[in-house]
């Protein structure tokens, strides 16, 4: 499986995770998680376990809920696998089977399989990266629930239900998407965080926009590929009615367009995998970084409030000790978040740069490869058609 978005996440041989396989059954996707580890905390050194998308979400949510991790950038949850496109096509295929020729049916089936594969690659990649972010992080890798996720050899559904019951009520309180007003309103004394705040707020909107534009661009490529498909079919119809050498000529042309379609499809799906998915992922990751800033801003607000409370208590002469303790705790929490936040944001930048570099290089190499293939296809065809 191609691991693109994260490149350095499996450097550490003490815990290596990948998703070599996935099965699509009706509405559910079952991922096969493969773990190799030298850590003593695990019972076996190499094993596999099947997990569903919902299990990933459960794991993500429990991590978000964990107070201890407030100063860390929580790896964004993988989006739900979206097989709607291929499923629709499969439906059409089933319905229209009787009205299609054998060739048309075979061709449509082939297209369908290619689409499935593309969606597969995307969803496996994003689920894999999520786990790898956790396994490569010094704190997350030790998380109890993470270990359960990896090792528990039975269905996690029961556990998931229990977790919901436990956290249900508090859920909304803890998990709040970064409140931009709060973040930007905070009076920042730390230059580092001031810069980060400005950067993240701006970058966040830019990368969202770039993602949307990349999606439109990919969509257009797919439309062009579709058109090549129809052109090929129309040429074949005309060829069927012709005789003599012209028929062969037309059939050859139809074949060229069919091949062009395949190439254009590959260009579209590779662009999506390397560029659009990259942008999508980092849009989510930027959001996670913003969430960290938010939590820190909240902690700062709490600390400032605790100062006010302490002042009031001193004025009134009541509950001073409590107020002092509260203030100490708030300060501690704030400092902790600031310290770990700084580390996280710095490594976030490094991670981002590495990922962009890798994906841009791979995308460019694929573009070149596909263009060269197209060219040799076209030039070969021109030769054949000319010699006829």
């Amino acid at each position: 499986m191609v691991r693109s978005v994260s490149v350095d996440l499996n450097n550490d041989a003490s815990l290596v995770i990948d998703i070599p396989d996935a099965l699509c059954e009706r509405d559910k996707v079952k991922f096969t998680i493969h773990i190799k580890t030298t850590l003593s905390s695990f019972q076996k050194s190499e094993f596999s376990v099947p997990r569903q998308h919902e299990d990933f979400i459960w794991l993500h949510d429990t991590i978000v809920e964990t107070e201890e991790y407030a100063g860390l950038i929580i790896p964004p949850a993988p989006p739900k696998p979206d097989f709607e496109g291929p499923r629709e096509k499969m439906h059409k295929l089933g319905e229209g089977e009787s009205s299609m020729t054998k060739e048309e049916y075979a061709k449509m089936k082939q297209e369908l399989e290619a689409e499935y594969l593309a969606v597969f690659k995307k969803t496996v990649q994003v689920h894999e990266v999520f786990l790898q972010r956790l396994s490569s992080h010094p704190m997350f890798r030790k998380d109890r629930n993470f270990q359960i996720f990896l090792e528990y050899d039975q269905d996690l559904t029961v556990r998931r239900k229990n977790a919901k019951e436990m956290f249900g009520g508090f859920f909304k309180n803890m998990v709040k998407s970064a409140d931009e007003v709060l973040i930007s309103g905070v009076k920042e004394v730390d230059e580092f965080f001031e810069q980060e705040k400005i950067f993240l707020l701006d970058y966040s909107s830019k990368i969202k926009d770039a993602t949307a534009k990349a999606e439109k661009m990919t969509r257009s490529h797919k439309n062009v590929a579709d058109d090549y498909n129809h052109i090929s079919g129309a040429m074949n119809s005309i060829a069927a009615d012709n005789n003599t050498a012209f028929k062969k000529h037309l059939e050859k042309c139809a074949e060229v367009f069919e091949k062009l379609r395949k190439l254009e499809d590959r260009v579209a799906s590779d662009q999506e995998l390397k560029l659009t998915e990259l942008l999508r992922y980092y849009t989510r990751d930027i959001q996670a970084a913003k969430d960290l800033l938010y939590r820190r801003a909240r902690a700062l607000a709490d600390y400032e409030n605790s100062n006010k409370t302490l002042d009031k208590a001193r004025l009134k002469g009541k509950d001073i000790a409590q107020a002092e303790e509260n203030q100490k705790q708030c300060l501690r929490k704030f400092d902790k978040l600031s310290e770990s936040g700084k580390k996280e944001l710095t490594s976030f930048k490094a991670r981002r740069v590495v990922a962009f570099r890798k994906n841009l290089i791979e995308m460019t190499e694929l573009e070149i490869k596909h263009a060269k293939n197209s060219m040799s296809l076209l030039q070969g065809s021109i030769e054949i058609l000319n010699s006829n």
Partner: protein, 469 residues
């Protein structure tokens, strides 16, 4: 715009694949095969300029130029055959250029420069420029259609009128869509003229010559009904009337039945292909727009990025994508002018071909009607034999003779149009194959060029991506 209109495609003389015509073209190398069969010296209405030979082919015949200064109208029929074979030196170039707006507001119109370069002697000069407006082209087509269509000639239709397009131009909208509209029309007018002069009979028609050469042209009035579609609509209405006749035409010639069916099928298939290509043009334009939009967004992202090397790479990515969007736009012009417009022309041509088949049915119906009339006159005469009215009898006998003549004429006309159609269809099919082969190669070459540029741009970007540190 770096795309050539397909004029060269239509003009280049190339080897023809074995013909797929009707039974008469057994030997494709014998240029005279059809010619010798077609000559019918005693047919009075046969125009002095019938086309006979097949389209230009690479043949062993030494090209002989048409003798200089021969007046078209004085030629006797059999001389024409010899001159026809020499069309492998089809030496005429026509270009439509320099659109100019004349006047203002709703009365404004576009004027185009029509330049003819030729060494053919039927023209008075070897290079001549005239100014023509759109209605002039329509006027030319309507004249040619009225002269030749009923004889079974496939007269190339003029481009369509477009109220929306022209209104924009008239009210002075200088935007891209008006510019594109004028260019689309200019190109279509050029193709129309080239197709018209490619037809051996039409090339020598005095109206065509006048159109190309004379500096003043009488204004073509009432062109409302005379656009290509307008005429064909009229023709097809007549055909509908014919089809509704209770007497179904006895098709004794399987060739016509087969061909008619073929053209029906081809009509449907070509329209489908045309629709797919139009969709491609549209989506390619969208791709260009979306790529440009992404380029801008990537540039903004690059500006926002605080890591210097990555920021630079993103800016460069934006530049690459900008170049690529231009590439897609150029390709969409190629999609359009090379393939889409050509297919559109052929869809209209097929309508003209179908019109010609219907003309034949009309001719058959006329012949049948004459026979019926003759029969009636004979019966009337027989009755009068017993009525003892000598003057009426004489009249009846005269009328019989008149209708006998008409029956003969009807039969001759029907046979003539059948011959013409066979020949025209053969020529049409050869041209169609040739056009398609040439255009498809040109188009694939345009795609090659696009891929070459893509390789160039991405190979230039690769080191930039690798330089991110």
């Amino acid at each position: 715009m770096n795309v050539n209109s397909p004029e060269a495609a239509c003009l280049s003389a190339e080897d023809i694949s074995p013909s797929s015509n009707g039974p008469r073209d057994d030997d494709p190398d014998d240029l005279f095969a059809e010619a010798t069969e077609e000559v019918s010296l005693d047919s009075p209405e046969r125009q002095p300029i019938l086309s006979d030979g097949p389209s230009p082919a690479i043949t062993p015949v030494t090209p002989v130029m048409i003798s200089p200064r021969v007046d078209v109208f004085d030629r006797s029929p059999d001389q024409d055959e010899d001159e026809e074979e020499n069309r492998d030196t089809f030496d005429i170039q026509i270009s439509v250029s320099d659109p100019e707006k004349v006047g203002d507001g709703m009365n404004a119109y576009m004027v185009y420069k029509v330049t003819t370069k030729t060494s053919l002697s039927i023209f008075s000069r070897d290079e001549v420029c005239v100014k023509r407006r759109f209605s002039d082209f329509l006027g030319l087509y309507s004249k040619l259609a009225s002269k030749y269509m009923h004889m079974g000639y496939i007269v190339p239709p003029a481009p369509e009128k477009s109220i929306v397009g022209m209104t924009k131009v008239k009210v002075g909208k200088e935007d891209l869509s008006s510019v594109e509209f004028v260019e689309k029309r200019r190109s279509a007018l050029e193709r129309y003229l080239l197709r018209t002069v490619k037809h051996p009979a039409l090339l020598k028609d005095p109206d065509v010559l006048q159109f190309l050469e004379s500096s003043e042209l009488p204004r073509a009035v009432s062109t409302q009904a005379l656009s290509g579609a307008g005429i064909l609509r009229m023709v097809n209405k007549a055909a509908d009337a014919v089809n509704k006749m209770t007497i179904k035409m006895n098709e004794s010639d399987a060739w016509f039945e087969e061909k008619q069916q073929q053209f029906e099928n081809l009509d449907v298939q070509l329209r489908k292909l045309h629709a797919s290509v139009e969709s491609l043009v549209c989506h390619r334009k969208e791709l260009s727009v979306n790529t440009a939009s992404f380029a801008k967004s990537a540039a903004m992202l690059g500006n926002s990025e605080d890591h210097t090397a990555l920021s630079r790479a993103l800016s460069q990515l934006a530049e690459v994508e900008e170049k690529i969007d231009q590439l897609h736009q150029d390709q969409s012009y190629a999609d359009f002018y090379l393939i889409s417009e050509l297919l559109g022309d052929y869809v209209r041509l097929i309508t003209a071909v179908k019109g010609v088949f219907d003309q034949r049915m009309k001719a058959w119906a006329k012949w049948q009607d004459a026979q019926v009339m003759l029969q009636r006159k004979r019966e009337a005469e027989a009755k009068l034999q017993y009525a003892n009215k000598p003057d009426k009898l004489q009249q009846a006998t005269d009328e019989i003779r008149e209708w006998e003549g008409k029956v003969q004429q009807g039969e001759r006309d029907f046979e003539q149009i059948s011959k013409n159609i066979r020949r025209e269809v053969g020529r049409f099919e050869k041209d169609r194959v040739k056009d398609f082969r040439v255009v498809i190669i040109k188009y694939l070459e345009s795609l090659v060029h696009t891929q070459q540029q893509l390789i160039k741009y991405w190979e230039a970007f690769l080191p930039e991506a690798k330089a991110i540190a």
